[in-house]
């Protein structure tokens, strides 16, 4: 008998559907908002919206171009350099921007490239300069991690052949490297573009004013400062259309990037040519990524550590941050696991397309960004209830959905493999229910479950977007507190708060990854 699909996945699908459609209903009911006029939807006639739209695209385009160009150079150098000392450390450093909250990294970037920093950039860091530096800081390592496996997949004998045929570096690039990379670049570029287009914390903190505002920041400003929900909804609908367009382009691409969560990458002994050049590229990149974090730590240690740590507000904010982190991790991992239980059964019965669609539903936040969901909820709820009463459920719900694509990415291959390898065996041994969970599923899954929970908690704890929309003086998380300190030019206090937040995130990440995931890796 073929095993029935677990019904629970359809409950998760219903909850996700409800969680997305409810705020969408809030956005689409724009006509009911007080002060709405039909002309409001003609966004192209508003010079403000045109400017915001243009800047959103321009900064995303430039960020993508720079990140990708540099990533190609860096990934090539790492691949060509083969196995070198501290290689794993470097790749771990490249994984940090995934865990470090955006606003903490922004603190570090200000410390290094700000007017009073180690290497001041131009007249002011605030504006396009700062946004580009921050986006490259986050996306260069991501793009390197996406491109490195592609480079490493080039068979070693191609290199030997190139040596034999006396290829120049250019000929190697044209005949060997480019043909392999060509089909992967559009997918990576699209992902980075999407991330930069929907970037919120970076633009909010480094944008420096309305001249450098993106759609997401403009939505936030419309809701929280201009008290103009109609404009916020119009902007949100515009952002939604853009994201849908990008998602459609993404789905039509032959090759979408596989975001590698695991840190280790196979080492391949490369040619030792141009060692000095490759070393320099690697060193400069490591400095670019590492310096802001180091600068932030230095600044924090010179700051009023005792004063900040003795402030009760900090501890209250830390409690709320932890609550959001743990709750979002729990909900996201549970939802992901339930979805994947069904999709792995479907996949192993040859229903690959259905399985893929089920997993795609979990990645709905790529199409409907968290701030758009937040705007929908904000507009919908503010008409009926006191927003302050709903801060935590909404923030946890949206952060859980933000984490779901990561959970699916981490758990999916392991669950599919386990299902394929051991499901028939378990069935034949009458190993079901609780016995199967504790004897087979849990030991084999705890490592990826721990990693997934750690990633989601770090993301949720560092989130500034949704909490900025809903938070108040009584419901402040550490990222929001940090943003408020930066806004009030209390930079020394902000540096301490940033370090505190970073350490808290790393501690939670480590404890979930190790505590939940265990130390031992189960060999398959």
């Amino acid at each position: 008998m073929m095993r029935r699909q677990p019904v629970s996945a359809y409950w998760v699908l219903s909850i996700i559907g409800l969680a997305v459609l409810t705020p969408m209903a809030g956005l689409l009911a724009v006509g009911r908002l007080p002060g709405f006029e039909p002309g409001d939807l003609q966004f192209w006639s508003s010079s403000y919206i045109r400017r915001v739209l243009l800047f959103s695209f321009w900064q995303a385009f430039l960020s993508t171009l720079i990140s990708l160009t540099l990533a190609l150079l860096v990934a090539r150098s790492i691949a060509k350099r083969g196995d070198f000392p501290l290689r794993n450390l470097l790749l771990r450093l490249f994984g940090l921007p995934l865990v470090v909250p955006s606003i903490v990294a922004v603190m570090g970037i200000i410390s290094v490239y700000g007017s009073a920093g180690w290497f001041p950039v131009g007249r002011s860091l605030y504006g396009l300069n700062g946004i580009l530096i921050a986006h490259v800081f986050f996306n260069l390592p991501l793009a390197v991690r996406l491109l490195l496996p592609v480079w490493q997949a080039i068979p070693e004998h191609y290199d030997q052949l190139a040596e034999q045929l006396r290829f120049t570096a250019w000929q190697r690039w044209i005949h060997i490297e480019w043909p392999t990379l060509r089909e992967n670049i559009p997918g990576v570029a699209l992902l980075v573009f999407m991330l930069c287009l929907t970037s919120f914390a970076v633009v909010l903190t480094l944008g420096g004013g309305p001249r450098s505002s993106t759609l997401e920041v403009a939505i936030y400003q419309s809701l929280r400062f201009d008290f103009d929900p109609t404009q916020a909804v119009v902007l949100a609908l515009l952002q939604l259309m853009l994201c849908l367009l990008i998602a459609v382009i993404g789905l039509s691409l032959q090759k979408l990037p596989e975001v590698e969560i695991s840190i280790s990458v196979n080492s391949q002994a490369g040619a030792a040519s141009n060692r000095l050049y490759h070393n320099s590229v690697i060193l400069v990149t490591a400095a670019f990524i590492g310096m802001p974090l180091l600068a932030m730590i230095f600044d924090a240690l010179r700051g009023p550590v005792i004063d900040v740590l003795s402030d009760n507000k900090l501890w209250l904010a830390a409690t709320y941050t932890l609550l959001i982190g743990f709750a979002a991790a729990f909900c996201s991992v549970l939802a992901g696991w339930l979805l994947l239980r069904t999709s792995s059964v479907l996949a192993n019965h040859g229903k690959i397309r259905q399985a893929k669609w089920l997993e795609l539903v979990g990645s709905v936040v790529y199409v409907v960004p968290p701030l758009i969901l937040g705007t929908g909820y904000f507009v919908l709820l503010s008409q009926h209830v006191v927003i302050a009463d709903w801060v935590f459920p909404i923030v946890i719900l949206i952060n859980s959905m933000m984490g779901l694509p990561f959970v699916i990415k981490v758990l999916s291959p392991v669950m599919r493999k386990n299902q394929m390898r051991y499901d028939n065996l378990c069935n034949s041994l009458a190993l079901h229910g609780w016995n199967k969970w504790r004897r087979v599923d849990w030991p084999l899954l705890r490592k990826p479950l721990g990693l997934a929970a750690a990633l989601v908690s770090a993301l949720a704890m560092g989130d500034l977007g949704v909490i900025a929309l809903f938070g108040s003086a009584d419901t402040t998380t550490l990222p929001l507190m940090l943003y408020q300190q930066l806004g009030a030019y209390r930079i020394p206090q902000a540096a301490v708060t940033a370090l505190f937040l970073l350490l808290l995130c790393l501690l939670v990440f480590w404890s979930l990854e190790r505590g939940l995931g265990g130390r031992k890796d189960v060999t398959h």
Binding site: M1, M2, G350, N427, S428, R439, L444
Partner: protein, 238 residues
């Protein structure tokens, strides 16, 4: 003991083609019936149908005169040994075998003794605490056989269990298998890609091609059957 009659399964391929498979065969207690044939012919499908991992459209599966086709995989009185991944990698050898007796691992003293006896029979004593990763390929398959032994089921299904092993190890394990099946009076179906395995293991062999049992005969006769085109082509290609 094992009786398969008009067992029908329709395979729906992704390209939209439907292939109908129809099986008839039987195996007596203490017999190892080898099943050979080209890839994609339906050998593993037959075992999966008997084990209940695939739903048959119609037909009868009888074990000891009891119809089992409507039972779930766990309820069928049989044990299946796969080509690989028979053991859970995080559990030690003893626990892997013990799961065959009681999934909750609440074992009586007699059951524990039984496991130790089975391990001894298969020359695995002293290795109880080892994890599958610390065993050789041959030892891993012996553990799977030890579990089959303690499960005391009437039918043993073996889906290319020795495919990944070298010739000497295959021969050794086939000898062990033969003596176990005979001692416990089980009926075993051994799917193999190698005609030599069939020759070593079985008095009778079935040849499956395009979802049908084309021939069942004494193994040596079947392997010398040059009249049947499909067998001739298969043996020529091995």
């Amino acid at each position: 003991m094992l009786h398969i009659e008009q067992l029908k399964f329709v395979y729906h391929s992704q390209s939209g083609l439907n292939t109908e498979m129809l099986f008839n065969l039987s195996a007596a207690p203490g017999e190892i019936l080898s099943i050979i044939g080209p890839s994609g012919g339906g050998k593993s499908t037959l075992l999966n149908l008997i084990a209940g991992f695939l739903p048959a459209q119609s037909g009868i599966i009888r074990i000891d005169d009891k119809s089992v086709q409507n039972l779930g995989p766990a309820q069928r009185p049989l044990t299946m040994v796969f080509q690989q991944h028979n053991l859970f990698p995080h559990l030690d050898l003893f626990t892997n075998v013990a799961l065959g007796i009681n999934p909750s691992l609440k074992l009586t003293d007699d059951q524990q003794d039984e496991i130790h006896d089975a391990l001894k029979k298969l020359s695995l004593d002293g290795l109880e605490k080892r994890k599958p990763g610390q065993l050789s390929g041959g030892q891993r398959q012996r553990v799977a056989l030890a579990r089959a032994l303690v499960r005391r089921q009437k039918v043993l299904l073996l889906d290319e269990p020795f495919a990944a092993l070298g010739p000497a190890l295959r021969q050794e394990l086939i000898e062990i298998l033969k003596s176990l099946v005979e001692q416990k009076s089980m009926a075993a179906l051994l799917v193999s890609h190698q005609p030599e395995d069939a020759l070593l293991a079985s008095k009778r062999t079935a040849f499956i091609h395009q979802g049908k049992v084309c021939a069942i005969d004494e193994t040596s006769k079947l392997l010398n059957n040059t009249a049947e085109k499909a067998i001739r082509e298969y043996l020529g290609s091995v």
